[in-house]
């Protein structure tokens, strides 16, 4: 075991710096909300972005330090894996905030609370990725989730939003219970909640019945957060009911953070008994992508379709974990980056089509958009093709890494299921393109130029989707370096 600094508990406190800075920004936003005179509170977004940039800077500084030190009694780590996720989550939040500026004005939502909650949730996510202790994972998950429960219900006058919030809260609390119960069994089986100690105990004792029970319960908890079948039933309703920017935040941020902890527990602490869980995850991955894709086919509401698609993508991403190889885990990390970019872009276009009182989320609302708003049409086409995994987009590179890792680990069957699922998904993603380009529409659309932040975010996501697809090497290299610190 690596020697712990014998100094005070808070030596190496800097490992918590990215998460602390995000949390501090949340406080700052709340204070700024009180003193701000700007009726739209646009300046709050600026405060949030500066704070996030500072946090990202701290993460980069820790990355450059490169020692992967642990702090607070080894319960938090600033290893490459944690920092990779910190940067991803901070970037995803920053993009979500940029998507939200115009959205908040449109729906007259309280900006101060909104940004503060989003930042608090992000700090939970960052801690979740850095956690080296099951209790810290639990706490971080709760910080993340409670804020999101509120965000989902932010459209107070909409029944859909209220329903989504309540549903997410009840089921989420239930699932967190499972997680906590599982953690208790882990403690009982190994005598510790610290992941490195758990890993040693598991390597020594193998799979004890208590450990197996804990493993199953923890799997349920994580399965709920990343929306694996059969713990996915909340997803379509909650994603559809939540404000669209929050949906994007959940699909990207919550999912990535949950995967971060999921992979750290399974591919990190439990890797020595991988044989006992890869089979289950294999089945879950196959089921999740199939049910998600089949569910998406019949949807007429694009937001709900993207909800089902996010389930399917969780299934694809899980393939990386099934392999239990470094290549597979690196592919998972890469895929989460890719998924974040293309999904934020797609939700951005959805927000751009919405007008006050007209959500414009149905498939037919996209009719003719491609030629009437060429920028929105073209970028949406890129996002849809990327989600479908068609080259030369990022989605293809991501699936390529995942499936080649699967083949490399001997899971040719899972790769075949994955590509057959991609064929199904092509059908419904193509449906959006058909509406945009092959049908005529007259529904008025606000020119995207009137919402500059939104347009800039969409364009950024579009360009990034193409660049990550054509030149995937750099990001993939970062992912490979990052998973090296998993075990």
């Amino acid at each position: 075991m690596t020697p712990i600094d014998v100094g005070p508990f808070a030596a190496h406190w800097e490992v918590a710096l990215p998460g602390l800075l995000v949390a501090a920004t949340a406080m700052l936003v709340m204070v700024a909300d009180l003193v701000s005179t700007d009726p739209d509170r646009e300046s709050l977004a600026g405060v949030a972005l500066v704070g996030l940039a500072t946090a990202a800077g701290a993460a980069l500084w820790l990355w450059a330090g490169g020692n992967g030190a642990g702090g607070f009694g080894e319960t938090l780590r600033a290893d490459r894996y944690a920092l990779f996720f910190a940067l991803l989550l901070i970037a995803a939040t920053a993009l979500t905030i940029l998507l939200s500026v115009d959205f908040l004005r449109l729906h007259a939502l309280p900006a101060g609370e909104y940004y503060a909650l989003m930042l608090l949730s992000t700090s939970g996510m960052v801690f979740m990725a850095a956690a080296n202790d099951l209790i810290v994972i639990f706490l971080a998950l709760e910080i993340m989730s409670v804020a999101v429960y509120v965000l989902v219900g932010m459209l107070r006058r909409e029944v859909r939003s209220n329903e989504a919030s309540l549903k997410y809260f009840l089921l989420g609390a239930f699932a967190t219970g499972f997680l906590l119960y599982g953690i208790a069994f882990f403690y009982g089986a190994t005598g510790s909640t610290r992941l490195d100690v758990v890993a040693q105990a598991v390597a020594r004792d193998g799979l004890t019945p208590f450990l197996l029970l804990g493993l199953a319960l923890v799997l349920v908890g994580f399965g709920f957060k990343v929306a694996l079948i059969p713990f996915h039933v909340w997803t379509p309703d909650v994603y559809e009911g939540a404000p669209t920017a929050v949906t994007a935040f959940m699909a990207v941020g919550v999912k990535a953070a949950a995967f971060a902890a999921f992979a750290r527990v399974f591919a990190g602490a439990l890797v020595s008994v991988a044989a006992s869980w890869t089979g289950v995850l294999w089945v879950l991955a196959a089921l999740t992508m199939t049910v998600g894709n089949v569910g998406a086919v019949t949807q007429r509401n694009v937001k709900r379709m993207l909800a089902y698609s996010s389930i399917a993508h969780a299934g694809y991403a899980l393939v990386g974990l099934v392999t239990a190889t470094k290549a597979g885990e690196a592919a998972l990390l890469y895929y989460l980056v890719v998924y974040a970019v293309m999904n934020l872009g797609a939700f951005g276009v959805l927000i751009a089509l919405g007008r006050r009182g007209e959500p414009n989320e149905m498939l037919q609302d996209f009719a003719g958009v491609g030629f009437r708003q060429p920028v929105l049409g073209l970028t949406m086409a890129v996002f849809m093709l990327s989600l479908a995994g068609i080259p030369p987009t990022a989605g293809f590179a991501g699936k390529f890494y995942l499936f080649s890792a699967a083949v490399d680990a001997g899971y040719v069957g899972l790769a075949v299921i994955g590509v057959l699922n991609s064929v199904i998904s092509v059908y419904y993603y193509l449906g959006v393109l058909v509406q945009m380009y092959m049908t005529e529409g007259t529904r008025p659309i606000d020119a995207p130029a009137t919402r500059p932040y939104l347009l800039a975010t969409i364009l950024f996501a579009g360009v990034a989707t193409l660049l990550l697809g054509v030149f995937p090497s750099g990001t993939m290299e970062l992912a490979r370096v990052s998973v090296a610190s998993l075990r």
């Binding site: 080259p391 030369p392 390529f400 590509v419 092509v426 059908y427 393109l433 049908t439 993939m476 490979r480």
Partner: protein, 506 residues
């Protein structure tokens, strides 16, 4: 000179053209059209330069360019041309400007977008023919899909959306399984040599078991068979062709279908020779079935475009028969027939499109007696139709003759049946011609038809001239193909020889 990355320029020139075109103002249409023509002539000029630098008599890949792309997975950006791909590249670069020119009169809506997509499609097609890394090949292969689907779905006929979706889903279903096959092969490279690689030669050097080969062949063959299309995977083709605008049909028939046959010859056959030995009877049977079936169905079509579409199924059956006969003569004939089909069927679609622009109908019953009304059109139609029939002196004859000659040795019965396809081909094409062009001019609308304009002649005359050149003097073409064809066959023969020795001639 030697340092000019000619193939890269060739592949990406259309893409650059598409981007420039997208930046141009939407009006005036004439300006957009001229710009599109210029942008499509650049790659054609580059392809002629490539032909000039190509050294005949060599079997290896020439003008090879390589650069690391995704080094961690051994993926390279690697292009090269050999005798098999040379003329397919030329055909692509030759047909695209003609399609641009032909679409001047056909496309009046969203003109800029149409030509931009056409140019993107050209990049995909050229890249597919020239890629020597299977990852790169797959990327280009898929890149073709989206612009083609849009050409059908945006500018097509009444059922265009259905046809476009069907086209995409059919093609994707096949090609994604091929992707798994490619991943498996790359993994085998890792198992056998220590690191992932996707290079064509690296795949050729693999040692694969017989069962492995059969699965992999199936994965690749499905993708290619759908694209060809080999009977019974052809059902997307009539829909796509009938709904596509003329330019889309020409590209689809002229080049895209060749992707399938090219894929067989470049990848499926040399990579899995043992599987080819096992599967070739089945493939030959399907090819022959396609020849006869396509011809019979074409015979009864009331719609000119559908007739030409089904004739493609029949003609591509010949190509497949030639490729899977696995004799040098038949395979060369197959490659030659790919070019012939691209020219003559492309021209048939152009001719159908030209008459459709004038009469807004494609029903054979609506025509008759056009000979007196539009003599130049009738004459052009005659030559193209006879080229498609395979009249000696025109290009179709050379290809079909070589295929039948080369296939008769290994597959006498199949060849005998296929020969009946030649007769049927003559039947449905001549009968169609008779009903459209000859007979009394009963409908007054037809009497008032305008004959071919200068622009339309500029589209047709190069194709017709090439039909004559390739029919009368095939040697310069065959001389450049033969070494590369022999090299591919040498790989198969090493596996075939024991089987033939044991089983004797069939």
């Amino acid at each position: 000179m030697a340092t000019v990355p000619l193939l890269t320029l060739l592949v990406f020139a259309p893409l650059v053209g598409a981007v420039l075109l997208a930046l141009l103002p939407r009006e005036p249409l004439a300006g957009v059209r001229r710009a599109a023509l210029v942008f499509s002539l650049v790659p054609f000029a580059l392809s002629l330069w490539m032909l000039g630098r190509f050294r005949p008599g060599e079997a290896e890949f020439q003008l090879v360019e390589r650069a690391a792309w995704i080094p961690a997975w051994g993926i390279e950006y690697r292009l090269g041309v050999d005798g098999v791909s040379l003329f397919l590249v030329l055909l692509t670069a030759f047909l695209t400007p003609l399609v641009v020119l032909a679409s001047w009169g056909d496309i009046h809506r969203r003109v800029k977008e149409f030509f931009a997509l056409l140019l993107v499609l050209e990049t995909g097609m050229l890249g597919t023919f020239l890629a020597l890394d299977l990852f790169l090949f797959y990327v280009f292969w898929e890149v073709m899909l989206v612009p083609m689907a849009f050409l059908i779905g945006v500018w097509g006929g009444p059922q265009r959306v259905y046809a476009a979706i069907k086209f995409v889903l059919y093609t994707m279903a096949g090609s994604l399984l091929m992707l798994v096959g490619i991943l498996y092969l790359a993994w085998q490279v890792k198992v056998q040599t220590g690191a992932f690689a996707f290079g064509y030669e690296r795949f050729l050097a693999l040692h694969l078991g017989a069962r492995e080969q059969l699965y992999l062949f199936a994965a690749f063959a499905l993708a290619f068979a759908i694209k060809v299309p080999l009977f019974p995977f052809h059902t997307w083709l009539p829909d796509a062709h009938v709904e596509a605008p003329t330019g889309g049909s020409v590209i689809l028939a002229g080049v895209l279908l060749k992707m399938g046959t090219y894929g067989f010859l470049r990848f499926a056959i040399p990579l899995f020779p043992a599987a080819v030995a096992t599967a070739s009877p089945a493939v030959v049977a399907l090819a022959v079935a396609g020849i006869v079936y396509g011809a019979l169905v074409a015979t009864v079509q009331p719609d000119l475009k559908k007739l030409v579409a089904y004739s493609s199924v029949s003609h591509l059956g010949f190509v497949m028969l030639g490729l899977f006969a696995l004799t040098p003569t038949a395979v060369s004939g197959g490659v030659y027939q790919m070019l012939n089909h691209g020219l003559s069927t492309g021209a048939l679609f152009l001719l159908v499109g030209m008459i459709y622009e004038r009469r807004h109908t494609r029903m054979i019953a609506d025509f008759g007696g056009l000979w007196t009304a539009v003599p130049v059109y009738a004459a052009c139609f005659l030559v193209v139709m006879l080229a498609s029939v395979g009249l000696p002196g025109l290009n179709g004859f050379v290809g079909e003759f070589l295929i039948l000659l080369g296939a008769f040795g290994p597959w006498p019965w199949a060849t005998a049946v296929a020969t009946s396809g030649v007769v049927l081909g003559a039947l449905y094409l001549l009968w169609m011609y008779e009903r459209v062009i000859f007979g009394p001019l009963v409908r007054p609308e037809n009497a008032a038809l305008e004959d071919l304009r200068g622009r339309e002649l500029a589209v047709l005359v190069p194709i017709i001239a090439l039909c004559f050149v390739m029919g009368l003097y095939p040697a310069p073409f065959l001389r450049r193909m033969q070494p590369s064809v022999d090299r591919i066959l040498a790989r198969v023969q090493s596996v075939e020889a024991p089987r033939l020795a044991a089983g004797g001639r069939r």
